[in-house]
Symmetry: C2
């Protein structure tokens, strides 16, 4: 039996087998729904209005009012007939603000992963009847080269068709100096740099002949239907979903390629793509390559590989030139991946004499401390609070998210909404602002508990208290922060800060010794630095030491795409980096506990905050 | 419609589609029929007795008596009903004497294409959680290595199953020093050396750990249904048969592998095979790789490649370990292939100060002249006379072939038959003998024409004269040699000798300067050297200068399998060798004309023969 599922207000449809759940049906209709728990029915992010569903399906855990209004959890509702489904904006993975800018790739010498050369061979004669392939190599002045058999099969035809001219894609010397493919004369040479995150995938097209950035596109990782964090994804893979996860990320990349090609000012064909440089966390890379990620989940957290071999597009199921080279930037550990290596390469941390700290807060929070002599890194399992997880009104930085909050003693609370429409929730930068502002206003105490019951926006509930930022109004839901939400936010920021402290301790250095703090990833460019210091997420050091480096993982990938030197640096960073497993660190728990206050139990670490609080 | 075709006396059957010709039906029944013309109906080698065939089919060109007896050409007869087919021995590719011995591979230092190492990795811990693959590389003390993605996928499971032990196949340093595959501990390491000839395929299994030869097997190349020589095969490929030819040679190799494994004293599994070194003429290599051989056929005779890239067994459709490396020995030209390079490497010609000549008479005849300073080679298109082609009673050196002939003035003709059974025809060494003996006896003149009509064995025919070696008797056909047969034999020997002369001229050297004549291939070990000199096939120089090196192409392949030095030498030979295209040689036609006599127009070139004739 097949049923037709219609999704409103978009008006898209999918025809699915009986028993398909609505999360999958939506995905098939080309529209992803939020699903932080991976379809387990616990996160309630996929709440949709279903017409025609039975009363018993998808209702578990929903409150009486939601049920009465016809809401169901998409992940717990199965197609047993034709259905019409209304998707509220909060349930949609839709318009968004993905961090996709990165510093222009500064590479000294252009030595891209692949080069395209037009070759004109001498026409063979009876006295010069060497093979077609050797005729090409002779022009390149080499004796022997590796070449894919399927390309060799095409060579003679191409040469004769094009009057002894052929375009030749070769790999850089550090990548084997081999023949990648042949094509008709006049091929462009386009490379793809990519940052595959748990939440978002960002991709840039780069002209490999000039080093010029052609276009960039970003999308949520379609794997999100299997959960928000890497653990949910690995768990999904363990239950037999690895191939599906691989297909989902590949389809995300395909979509991005189309978008990036369409948005480029220059005319590009997908067959012009000759190489890919990919930064990604270790789990994402495993899934892209179809490697079993299970080892990353369980102690001692061992991946199949840290340094994936050079691959070809065909092996990953990527569209276009099947022989295009795929270089995955090496990652140090199961939870410190190639994205962090790319961050480091892009930041230059590994080249300074003085000490730098690098903080990348995405779905996880990774911290690196070091200089050109030594580097140490850890992963803090910070949790997704700043990406909209674990906070009831939290959401990703997309249209409808409150991204700025200010609270004045006189005028009260004010906020800014992405896209300017009615607010749907609060994203990471907004959460940092609101916590800092409530703390400074005295509405919450240093333990993050709501205290000021004189404030009209504060109300008591069965579970404690909550602060209402936006009251409910006709057609718009209430946006608020509860004690539980605050506890989760504090846990996240404490984990990141504790990570920094443990690294400093391991090198017997102090926060003041840190000359630079690189803030990369997730929300780096949108946060208010004073507020971030106020809540104790970032250290209280001179503000000019902070460097916001945007999506540095993507920037590092662009550099690796363009430069043999950067590829070598990435390998050197991989080799030089020491990974510190926090679960074996005796001091992490203490540091975490101390950091679970606003800004910290040790106010001497936050002198400017302490001074401001005194006022 | 399907029909059942039964082949007698073997009693094998094939069920085939309506319209299948009997040549293909026989092939399907696992039995190859002779077919020198490639199924064109001109060579008459596939003459079979068909019960149930229509009178009009397969009859064209057959004489009245054959037709009356029920003979048909298998290649011109199509299954239009169930048939019973009797296959006379002459039509069968059957028991045979394929040259498969070669000198023991003398390699100084064992550095095989692939090595198997058992690796025990350290069990991961929280403080040592590097990836499984890097754990393996650490034991090998290297940072990075290429590895097939599909093998990487298997690694983690193998390590955990086998308590952190794994067998690792790696390629030699000159072949990229990469990881070929992983397997359970206790894998053997077996290599395959192969000589793929137009007529026969010979294969040796070699223990790569010790260099010991395990077993050898040989079979006719199943491509023979598409014709005896490379031109017929290329023509067959041009008509859309390339994939079929590839399948045929691969099925020949599969069969040989089974035979070689079965005949080895040691227990071998096909998955133990980790590498292949293949010598073959350029056309055979093209067909094995699925490369279009068309360019080799037409002026200026350009192959797709002389130096095929390193490949994997899977790419060729070979059974066993899909990642096993396949190294094709480079060949100089369309008609001087990797088999000749392997001949040279095995002979050592390329290492001597003094001048050597190498003659390889197989289906073609290739000649090399040179020393460690320079080498020049040509292909003589000698024709298949010495392999049973172009001679009415000619046949391959298999059971029933006359391989030795002596003619005494008093006792008359005597002969030896391979297998000792009744004679079916004459093979190459027998042809050399009979021509030399008839010439010395005065029965044929120096132009190769039958003259002595006093001899009772000589009779006149409409086409000239013929010499009856074996008269017809009950159940056995007459075996004879006609003027036409003799002309073809003279053409073949003249081409080879003219080739030698042209090479000498090109270097301004004389036959006396040649210190060694290596005789390799096809029939090298079975011919009578005096008779070969008498007819002018081999030069008249001191007999101790002749070195019979057997199947040197296979010997060279074994060396390349076992030694990086020999692989390097093969490449150096390829680079040093100059190819002389005889069709552009002004002197070849003159030399060929002069050599088309017994032994030669210039008797000064054959002093010992001249002396013997004077007697």
């Amino acid at each position: 039996m097949k049923f037709k599922i219609r999704f409103l207000p978009m008006g898209v449809e999918a025809t699915v087998d009986e028993g398909t759940n609505l999360l999958d049906a939506a995905s098939e209709a080309g529209m992803d729904l939020n699903s932080a728990c991976g379809g387990k029915g616990t996160c309630h992010k996929c709440k949709v209005l279903v017409e025609g569903a039975s009363k018993t399906q998808g209702a578990e855990g929903l409150d009486a009012r939601s049920l009465q209004e016809g809401y169901r959890l998409a992940c717990q509702t199965w197609a047993l007939g034709d259905l019409s489904v209304f998707v509220p904006e909060e349930a949609r993975v839709g318009a968004h603000k993905i961090l996709d800018h990165h510093r222009a790739a500064a590479v000294k010498r252009l030595s891209p992963m692949t080069r395209v050369r037009q070759v004109t061979v001498e026409e063979p004669t009876l006295t010069d009847s060497v093979g077609d392939f050797e005729r090409v190599l002779r022009v390149l002045n080499i004796d022997e080269a590796s070449v894919p058999l399927s390309e060799l099969k095409r060579l003679s035809g191409l040469l004769r068709k094009n009057k002894w001219k052929v375009d030749l894609v070769t790999s850089a010397e550090d990548l084997g100096n081999s023949v990648v493919s042949f094509s008709d004369p006049g091929t462009r040479n386009v490379g793809v740099a990519m940052d595959i995150g748990t939440t978002t995938v960002v991709l840039s097209l780069v002209d490999l002949a000039s080093g010029k950035l052609l276009s960039t596109a970003s999308e949520y990782n379609r794997q999100m239907k299997a959960g928000d964090d890497v653990i949910s994804r690995i768990s999904y893979a363990e239950e037999g979903g690895l191939a599906e996860l691989r297909d989902l990320v590949v389809s995300t990349i395909d979509l991005l390629l189309k978008e990036a090609i369409a948005s480029s000012e220059e005319s590009i064909d997908k067959h012009d793509i000759t190489s890919y440089a990919i930064a990604g966390n270790t789990t994402m890379i495993h899934m892209l390559l179809g490697l079993d990620p299970k080892g990353i989940r369980y102690e001692p957290y061992v991946p199949v590989t840290n340094v994936p071999p050079l691959l070809h597009a065909r092996q990953l199921g990527l569209d276009g030139n099947e022989h295009a080279l795929v270089h995955c930037i090496p990652g140090r550990a199961g939870f410190v991946g190639g994205d962090i290596t790319a961050d480091i390469v892009a930041s230059g941390l590994h080249k300074h004499d003085s000490l730098s700290l690098l903080i990348d807060v995405g779905t996880n929070g990774e911290v690196v401390l070091g200089n050109k002599e030594f580097m140490v890194a850890c992963s803090t399992s910070a949790g997704p609070a700043f990406e909209g997880g674990e906070v009831a009104c939290g959401m990703r930085a997309m249209d409808g998210a409150i991204e700025r909050v200010a609270i004045h003693p006189e005028t009260g609370a004010s906020y800014e909404v992405i896209g300017g429409s009615r607010p749907l929730g609060i994203c990471g930068s907004g959460l940092i602002d609101i916590v800092a502002q409530l703390f400074k206003a005295g509405t919450i105490d240093k333990k993050g508990r709501i205290q000021d019951f004189g404030d009209e926006r504060v109300r008591r509930t069965d579970q404690g208290a909550e602060y209402v930022l936006v009251p409910a109004s006709a057609g718009a839901k209430e946006i608020k922060l509860s004690d539980d939400d605050l506890a989760n936010i504090l846990r996240t920021k404490a984990a990141v800060f504790a990570g920094c402290r443990v690294l400093l301790r391991s090198l017997e250095r102090r926060m003041e010794d840190v000359e630079r703090v690189y803030v990369a990833g997730g929300f780096g460019n949108y946060i208010d630095i004073e507020n971030a210091v106020t809540i104790g997420l970032l250290p209280d050091i001179p503000r000019k030491r902070f460097k916001f480096i945007g999506n540095a993982a993507l920037g590092g990938a662009v550099q690796c795409l363009l430069s043999a030197e950067k590829r070598k640096e990435a390998m050197e960073v991989y080799e030089a980096l020491t990974y510190l497993e926090l679960s074996t660190s005796s001091s992490f728990f203490d540091e975490f506990s101390s950091a679970s206050f606003l800004p910290h139990t040790d106010l001497e670490l936050f002198p400017s905050v302490a001074k401001s609080l005194e006022k």
